[in-house]
Amino acid sequence: MRIQVTVNGQAREADVDPRVLLVHFLRENLGLTGTKIGCDTSQCGACVVKMDGATIKSCTCLAVQADGSDIMTIEGLAPAGELHAVQEAFWNKHGLQCGYCTAGMIMTSVELLERNPNPTAEEVRQGLEGNICRCTGYHNIVKAVLAAAEAKGS
């Protein structure tokens, strides 16, 4: 099937097998390997991208379902050479170790702060319940999201 999507601001057109998952389309057809696959069952959140402004798990979305939509991946979060406030905060607060969950964590955090610009620590923890990190114990991820909120507010 032929699909048209905007990915990180760029119009893309492709022929895809109807069963191809969006995450595979992004990684293999478009070479955007920043989005990861961790669990195949929608638990871990490593594959989170934004579709028309809302976060989705791209391992449980078909590429054809994305036809006509506007997708943003970690690669498109900030202009080249710049960092989004959430990326900067993850760096400053040591919000990552192995980095594998990080793209999904950051995309989820970005959307969380769009919905709730001044969350409490508890709200951040609840907001990240669809993303699993095995390295950080979440402590510094929560600190990073709170720091990003503060940086954006100031």
Partner: protein
């Protein structure tokens, strides 16, 4: 220098690529012509393969080949166990990469399909027909040793994989003379490591040159090359292993697995790059599991609370085969830590390793030491309850007094340095222990169940002296190497054999070099993970990377500084004895104006226009560091929980970790290691566990069924530290990667049991899920 770079919590240089999606993990890498492998796994835990019909699969669209056990027979050697613990009758049974006649656990590889795409390979798997004759199954280690149990391996009667006994002092006398003996049965449930990156391999065989390149998610690329050579028979110098970005390990990416070797085999047969990446369900079935002990434990003491002995009989489930380092875990890394931080004169561990029809176990964060700490700290709590004394005071009474340079314990180890009471005092003071006990007593009057759990620990890591490795049957060395090389413009490359995968040594090693050589930290690059451009090394596990690898980095820096000093003397036309060094500058004593920076010297060494007689050109040094002893970090942890007696729900309210890993190269990274480890250990206490049905089906087969800690399930972790240097390490450092899991599981467990004490509950098998806690409360009540 205004502030020292060693000890500074600077941001990690790894992060910019990771937070922008620019880092490449194995599955992100593709070569021209890459084809994809998918592995068919046994749905049965124990079965004879009567026949395999690959016909439909071989002709499926896009399929290049289908291989079975018959194809690898005689081509790929069995996957070896690389740790044969001496004097324990280890049965290193053959583990073929693809099963030919028998499958012994659900997930054992049966066939592999290689196709142009992963989708096509998966489609073809569906078309392979295997005729199985199912056999009786045993999943529990203790049951597997009973008469009449199903037998896994002909050459391992009673499923006994090994039997190891460690005895120090005279436990028989200690127990027969004991005033108090407390017993318990401890179940260390089987755990699934769950790196968020699944394992992956990309094998590329270039036939005409006979060269194999293997990109793989490995914690130890040099060991991987070594064993890949043994399994594939490709000479080691023709193999290049690259561990690119690796998404977590926790021990699970230490072993050499069948799957990666299957990818190698396929690439060699097809002469195409072959990529294989496991799905999460494959990860649950075929990546190693951890723990799985049934322990019968006794502790002996005087009425005054002096612990006089500890002994155990342990049935350690090894799974269906012996994985790479598996035999060393319930033995060396477990039994030898039975003294913990306490002065205990008589200890004995009697450990049976047992084959079961389950996924093999191997190193999982802490590996043996969490089990030892749990055993000891659980028994100390039970003893405190029996004697009616405060558990903190009982611990204090038995702690080994402060020592700075060696202390021998009954298991035969010599601890390096320790100040155990300091950790306990810091933890109790920080958590405000006496107030908490008052709060607890008050709450109990209103049927509110708050619990306080304590653990003191000391652990063995920084593996380790190579001579000891040989003596304990470890199939390799345990030294590390580093090469430091200046470019003509004064920039520094640090090439190391260890291979971090999230622990941040690209940053901390640069800090060590910057500190040793007075260069800017941003001028130092750390290169690791590729056997083609790094010195031999034994890998990242056992909290050894900074301890052993970092020491090699420091020693090579010091060697290079000696050369720089000699060259500086020559250039400054002074005697070497008159040259002084400060902050990256060499100068003639008394004349600081006459100086050369280390960059000036690097340039001269590189161009070699004016060298002293006999000095080789180049600004490069290598050092090999073989530690004289292990390191023994220690600490004390306190957990505060509440238990809702109506529904059994445990809430972890506070967690205080006091850890001492000696001087910290980067405190931010140290804290991060503690946070992650504590939460991983909390997972074992409260939520995680691999559950098998009687017939060997893994019931917790996906992240939907296996409960991992999530952000809202845990509190902030309160971290404190003290600094007791290791006397034998060039930097004084001890490991910190595993202390979290080593201490936290039992700390939280003790807190829950402490909460339930007024309800008469003294023991619940982990994980302490609401259902189990509720049942335990109500069984007592009925």
């Amino acid at each position: 220098m205004t502030s020292r770079i060693f000890g500074s919590g600077i941001r990690r240089r790894e992060d910019p690529r990771l937070i922008t999606g620019q880092a490449s993990y194995t599955d992100d890498i593709s070569l021209p012509g890459t084809v994809h492998a998918a592995i068919l796994r046994s749905p049965h835990a124990h079965a004879r393969i009567r026949s395999i019909d690959i016909g439909g699969a071989a002709s499926s669209p896009g399929v290049l080949a289908v291989y079975t056990g018959a194809d690898i027979d005689g081509v790929l050697n069995p996957i070896p166990c690389a740790w044969i613990v001496p004097d324990s009758d280890v049965k290193a049974v053959a583990h073929p990469a693809i099963a030919k006649d028998l499958v012994r656990y659900q997930g054992d590889a049966v066939a592999v399909v290689v196709a142009e795409s992963r989708y096509q390979a998966e489609d073809a798997l569906e078309l392979i027909n295997v005729d199985y004759e199912t056999l009786p199954v045993v999943v529990n280690a203790e049951a597997a040793m009973r008469a009449g149990a199903p037998q896994l391996h002909e050459d391992a009667p009673n499923n006994q994989a090994f039997h190891w006994v460690m005895a120090g002092g005279d436990t028989d006398a200690a127990f027969s003379d004991a005033e108090v003996v407390v017993k318990d049965t401890i179940i260390q449930q089987k755990l699934i490591p769950n790196t968020i990156e699944p394992r992956s391999a990309l094998a590329s065989w270039v036939g005409p040159t006979g060269e194999l390149t293997l990109w793989t998610s490995s914690q130890n690329p040099h060991i991987c090359r070594f064993i890949t050579s043994l399994v594939s028979s490709v000479p080691e110098h023709k193999i290049r292993v690259i561990a690119p970005e690796v998404g977590g390990g926790f021990g699970s990416k230490t072993p050499i697995y069948a799957d990666e070797m299957i990818a190698v085999f396929c690439s060699m047969k097809l002469r195409r790059p072959v990529k294989w990446t496991e799905t999460r369900s494959e990860n649950y079935q075929s990546t190693l599991h951890g723990r799985d002990h049934t322990e019968y434990v006794e502790i002996a003491a005087t009425r005054e609370g002096k612990i006089t002995g500890v002994r155990s009989v342990v049935y350690a489930g090894m799974g269906a085969y012996l994985s790479t380092a598996s035999t060393g875990i319930p033995t060396i890394l477990h039994g030898l830590m039975y003294c913990g931080p306490y002065d205990i004169a008589n200890v004995k561990a009697d450990v049976y390793g047992v084959f079961t029809n389950t996924t093999p176990v191997d190193l999982y964060r802490g590996a043996g030491r969490p089990e030892a700490t749990f055993l000891l700290e659980r028994m100390v709590d039970l003893l405190a309850a029996e004697l009616g004394v405060d558990p903190a005071e009982l611990r204090r009474k038995n702690l080994i007094p402060k020592f700075e340079d060696g202390h021998d314990v009954a298991t035969g180890l010599t601890y390096d340095s320790g100040d155990y009471e300091l950790s306990l005092n810091m933890a109790l003071e920080h958590v405000n222990y006496q107030e908490l006990r008052k709060e607890q007593a008050h709450g109990r009057e209103h049927h509110e169940y708050m619990g306080i759990g304590i653990s003191c620990y000391c652990e063995i890591c920084g593996l380790g002296p190579s001579q000891v490795a040989g003596a304990i049957g470890f199939g390799g060395g345990l030294w590390e190497a580093a090469t430091i090389r200046f470019t003509p413009t004064g920039k520094v490359g640090v090439y190391v054999g260890v291979s971090p995968h999230g622990q941040g040594e690209e940053t901390t090693f640069a800090q060590i070099v910057a500190d040793e050589l007075g260069v800017a930290v941003d001028d130092v690059d750390v290169i690791h993970g590729d056997t083609a451009n790094t010195p031999m090394g034994w890998g990242t596990y056992g909290s050894r990377t900074t301890v052993v690898g970092g020491a090699a980095v420091a020693l090579s820096s010091r060697k290079l500084k000696e050369k720089a000093k000699a060259l500086a003397a020559h250039l400054l036309e002074a005697a070497e004895a008159d040259i002084e060094y400060e902050d990256g500058k060499f100068f003639v004593r008394g004349s600081p104006d006459q100086s050369k920076t280390i960059q000036d010297i690097a340039l001269m060494a590189n161009v070699a226009w004016n060298m002293p007689e006999g000095m080789e050109p180049g600004m490069e040094a290598s050092a090999f560091y073989d530690p004289p002893n292990f390191t023994y970090p220690f600490g004390a942890h306190v957990a505060v929980v509440t238990v809702d007696a109506d529904n059994g729900l445990v809430e972890l309210k506070r967690y205080v970790a006091v850890d001492d890993c000696g001087p910290q190269v980067n405190p931010m990274i140290v804290e991060g290691q503690v946070h992650g480890g504590v939460v991983q250990g909390a997972g074992q206490a409260l939520w995680e566990g691999a559950v098998y049905s009687e017939n060997g089906q893994l019931l917790t087969g996906s992240m939907m069924d296996y409960a991992l800690p999530k952000a809202h399930m845990v509190p902030d972790i309160e971290t404190l530290s003290s600094v007791t240097p290791s006397p034998h390490n060039p930097l004084g450092v001890k490991g910190i990667g595993e202390t979290g899991t080593i201490a936290s599981t039992v700390t939280i467990y003790n807190a829950v049991i402490d909460a339930l004490r007024p309800l008469g509950v003294t023991s619940i098998d982990m994980p302490l899920t609401p259902e189990k806690v509720w049942r335990a409360i109500h069984q007592q009540g009925s």
